[in-house]
């Protein structure tokens, strides 16, 4: 530890931290542009100058290590003068277009120019002009505004793992870009917009849409992948205008994947905004009362089952379960993709190591998953671990995938997994030599005829290679959407018999619906499930309800209502509660608190929130014969990252991404 005095305040900081960090520990604000906590130190903007006793010149605090007994001054005349000078140089080539700049109002340069800059310009010469660059359909560039902090270059190289951005030419002519004008091949490109301290990189879909002070900000959770990214939904006049990540070091740090950030325009298109009832073979608009009456008539005396989809919240799920119980049915299913998940124990179907636990792992085996497209933010965490710790990553799946970190390709599928189970594979040595080994099993790898065997085999690999310890749980199932775990927690795994005569689909898109069955579709977007339905009940999307979500870790998080559902659409648990009334099976809760109390009763995990690190002492594996894995190659199931769910399939922004990045798929 080093004792440092900052403006007379004595703080003790670990050796090796920078002067800037010591100043922050003392509660002093240091202006900065190039420095970012989660990126390497560049030290090129010079804005963080401070004075250190006995140093002849001001020093750049972000790149200067502390020394014991150091005396730092952050507000001396030398510091103020130095920062004013740096700001003047930065503004020499920065255009005065704040009134038309999308960063206006949330711009580091604007704020710091007010706080630390001079009050007038002395520059009379011409400013430099820089051609705008193309970075893809999501990031808009106005390169005149670039102050060359190189945060974007470092983010692309270090966090996203796609070294495609750089600084070309030199001196006055230096420019940031890809040089070859291609779209950045990353699922994390939206974060460039957040880390750019000026308006050089802004959101293309959000261009000229709004000012930050006009927006109502609501904290919520992203459900378009299973990471459970913490988000802030910015809305104005009942319309979601943008979605930004919130910092949560346990989940997403401060990053966010592009689908969650940009697919929200799909919330305004192809919506189910009123009830529909099928009459004479055709769906006709109806009132809520007519819809409920039609349901009462349609399901009367029929054998009914219920399916939950990939984007459903826990409240709606428990209400559906209670309604089914009242109807005397326990035919519940949520594995619409056919994944052979064993829900008899929670650690069979969650990401037990925890996202933050990845940083402790010292060997990783990935089976049948492409985390880069299934959970880009979790993949960035794996990349961080590989980059800092150089841990070995074994991969079973398609050859030649670029996961953004070095991986040891072990084989394509079942045969390799079987070899690992027998302990005969060379990678067994690596796993056995590790203290904290972990396995990530893709949900897609279970959605095949031998899925149960794959699950059992992966568990056995975990058992045999010391991944299950009293204080370490190295078995992980990676889900694909934010609504997939809650229904598993609520027992939606009893299965739908083939002879079912009525189906209640809660946002579910089953591959087969029994012929002649009476189908109720409740959800927010109309796709195959709605097209087949006899009654459509318009529900609320994730930004439109106060709801509980469970991410792939099993972390319970709450999202809040940012905007009201469109038209006559309502929050889903309320729809089910209203339907129960008409069916004469009144559900015993009338308020959100009531549903949540019922949730906690149904499964105690909903009584708490967050994620509790846990180990594993019970080695009993899931049902399934570990020896029965077929020698079939694993296919990664998310082929089109940009259009993987109903919301993103309705999004124009995502459609453009698909056209850009997957020209063959868009045709």
């Amino acid at each position: 530890m080093a004792k440092v005095t900052v403006d007379g305040i004595e703080v003790e900081v670990p050796n090796g931290v920078s002067v800037l960090q010591a100043c922050e520990a003392a509660g002093k604000e240091i202006p900065r542009f190039c420095y970012h906590e989660r990126l390497s130190v560049a030290g090129n903007c010079r804005m963080c100058l401070v004075e250190v006793e006995k140093a002849p010149k001001p020093i750049a605090s972000c790149a200067y290590p502390v020394a014991d007994g150091m005396k730092v001054f952050t507000d001396s005349p030398m510091v103020r003068n130095g920062r004013r000078g740096v700001m003047e140089f930065l503004l020499i080539n920065h255009p005065l277009d704040c009134p038309i700049c999308d960063q206006g109002g949330e711009c580091d340069l604007q704020d710091q120019a007010i706080a630390f800059g001079g009050d007038a310009s002395r520059y009379r010469e011409e400013k430099r002009a820089v051609k705008d660059k193309y970075l893809g359909p999501l990031v808009k560039t106005i390169m005149n505004r670039c102050i060359q902090c190189t945060r974007c270059v470092r983010f692309a190289t270090e966090v996203a793992g796609v070294p495609e951005l750089g600084a070309t030419n030199r001196g006055e002519n230096m420019e940031i870009g890809t040089y070859v004008e291609k779209a950045l091949t990353t699922e994390l490109s939206g974060n460039l917009i957040d880390i750019c301290p000026v308006g050089a990189l802004t959101s293309r879909p959000y261009a000229y849409v709004s000012r930050p002070w006009e927006l109502r900000k609501t904290d919520s959770v992203d459900v378009l992948d299973a990471t459970g990214t913490n988000i802030r939904v910015d809305a104005r006049s009942g319309e979601v205008l943008r979605i930004l990540p919130r910092t949560n070091d346990d989940v997403n740090e401060e990053w966010m994947a592009d689908r969650g950030r940009f697919a929200f325009d799909g919330l305004k298109r192809r919506r189910l905004d009123r009830p529909w009832v099928r009459q004479g073979g055709k769906l006709k608009p109806a009132s809520w009362a007519e819809a409920f009456t039609a349901i009462a008539a349609g399901i009367k005396g029929r054998k009914i089952g219920a399916m939950a989809g990939d984007l459903v919240d826990a409240e709606a799920t428990v209400a559906l379960r209670d309604l089914m119980a009242a109807l005397g049915s326990d035919h519940l299913e949520c594995r619409t993709d056919g994944a052979a998940i064993d829900a008899s124990r929670r650690d069979f179907y969650t990401f037990n190591t925890g996202i933050v636990g990845i940083e402790e792992a010292d060997a990783l085996l990935i089976i049948g998953s492409n985390p880069r497209v299934e959970a880009p933010v979790i993949n960035a965490r794996i990349r961080k671990r590989v980059a800092t710790g150089g841990i070995p990553v074994g991969f079973i799946g398609p050859r030649g995938l670029n996961l953004t970190y070095a991986q040891d390709w072990l084989g394509e599928g079942g045969a390799t997994l079987s070899a690992l189970v027998g302990g005969q594979h060379r990678f067994n040595e690596v796993l056995r030599g590790a203290k904290r080994p972990m396995v990530i099993l893709g949900r897609g790898a279970l959605a095949r005829p031998d899925g149960a065997a794959v699950l059992a085999a992966a568990w056995q690999v975990a058992v045999e290679n010391g991944m299950l310890q009293a204080d370490w749980h190295g078995f992980n199932l990676l889900h694909q959407f934010g609504g997939q775990v809650a229904p598993l927690d609520l027992g939606f795994t009893t299965g739908i018999p083939a002879d079912v005569q009525a189906l209640w689909l809660l946002g579910a898109e089953p591959s087969v619906v029994p012929e002649g069955a009476f189908v109720i579709y409740q959800g927010h977007h109309g796709e195959a499930g709605a097209a087949r339905a006899d009654v459509i009940l318009p529900g609320a999307a994730y930004t439109e309800k106060d709801a509980t979500w469970v991410n792939t870790e099993g972390r319970v998080q709450r999202g809040r209502l940012a905007v009201y559902p469109p038209g006559e659409a309502r929050e889903d648990w309320k729809i089910l509660r209203a339907a129960s009334e008409v069916l004469g099976l009144r559900l015993p809760y009338d308020s959100l608190d009531g549903v949540r109390a019922r949730l906690a009763e149904a499964n105690p995990v909903f009584a708490g929130a967050g994620f509790v690190a846990h180990g594993c002492t019970d080695m009993t594996g899931p049902a399934g014969d570990a020896g029965g894995v077929a020698e079939v190659a694993f296919d990664t199931t998310v082929h089109n990252y940009w259009q993987a769910d109903v919301i993103s399939r309705a999004s124009a922004t995502m459609a453009e991404c698909a056209r850009t990045y997957l020209p063959q798929a868009a045709e």
Partner: protein, 211 residues
């Protein structure tokens, strides 16, 4: 410096690039100089290899994008890291140039000794509009460069890899006309100076002690 810097998309680029036999031999020798794992250090010499190969195969010594990609692949680097290096250094021509690259040193010693006359001679005899331009016949490209380190024999005109020293207007015109005829005059001082010795023969140490 080039008057117009541009990104790669505006320049017609060849569709492919692969190292020829001679380049491969050179690369092998170059990469061996660096310890294993540090091959990226060879990026500058390899860019020269690309530029020379382009000169051999097309008559114009420049570095196309595909050439930089080939370097990146050979050295296990991200292509953008090669683009950064190549665009940083003026020795690498990022667009096609003429058959001969006339590089006039205009740093102070050369300028004091008449580099303005040398560049005027280049423009007039080579039919060049100005810095960074290529003559219509494709014979010459004119560049202004920083100190070439030959100040003793200033002014210097570097043609491709050769230094022509002690230049003035007339000798520059003669040199350019010779190049146009396909001749290659011997490099070095055009006034017959021996290496960097004083002009007109020895000036000091004329008496030999004991004689």
């Amino acid at each position: 410096m080039d008057a117009e810097l541009s990104t790669a998309t505006e320049i017609p680029q060849p569709n492919s690039f692969s190292f020829d036999e001679e380049s491969l031999k050179a690369i092998e020798a170059i990469v061996k100089r660096y310890p294993p794992g540090k091959q990226a250090s060879a990026v500058i010499p390899l860019l020269y290899v690309v530029q020379r190969q382009m000169k051999r195969s097309t008559g114009s010594g420049w570095v196309p994008n595909k050439g930089m990609d080939a370097v990146a692949e050979r050295l296990g680097m991200a292509p953008i890291r090669v683009y950064e290096v190549a665009t940083f250094y003026f020795m690498f021509n990022m667009k096609p140039i003429g058959k001969h690259h006339l590089q006039v040193c205009a740093t102070t010693p050369c300028w004091l000794r008449g580099s303005d006359e040398v560049s005027r001679a280049c423009r007039e005899a080579g039919k060049l509009g100005g810095w960074g331009q290529t003559s219509e016949d494709g014979m010459f490209t004119l560049s202004e460069v920083e100190c070439l380190g030959g100040c003793v024999n200033a002014p210097i005109l570097q043609v491709d890899d050769d230094y022509y020293e002690d230049m003035d207007y007339e000798s520059t015109v003669r040199l350019i006309e010779a190049l146009r005829r396909g001749e290659r005059p011997a490099p070095g001082s055009v006034i017959g100076r021996q290496t960097s010795a004083p002009e007109g023969g020895p000036q000091t140490l004329l008496d030999v002690p004991g004689e």
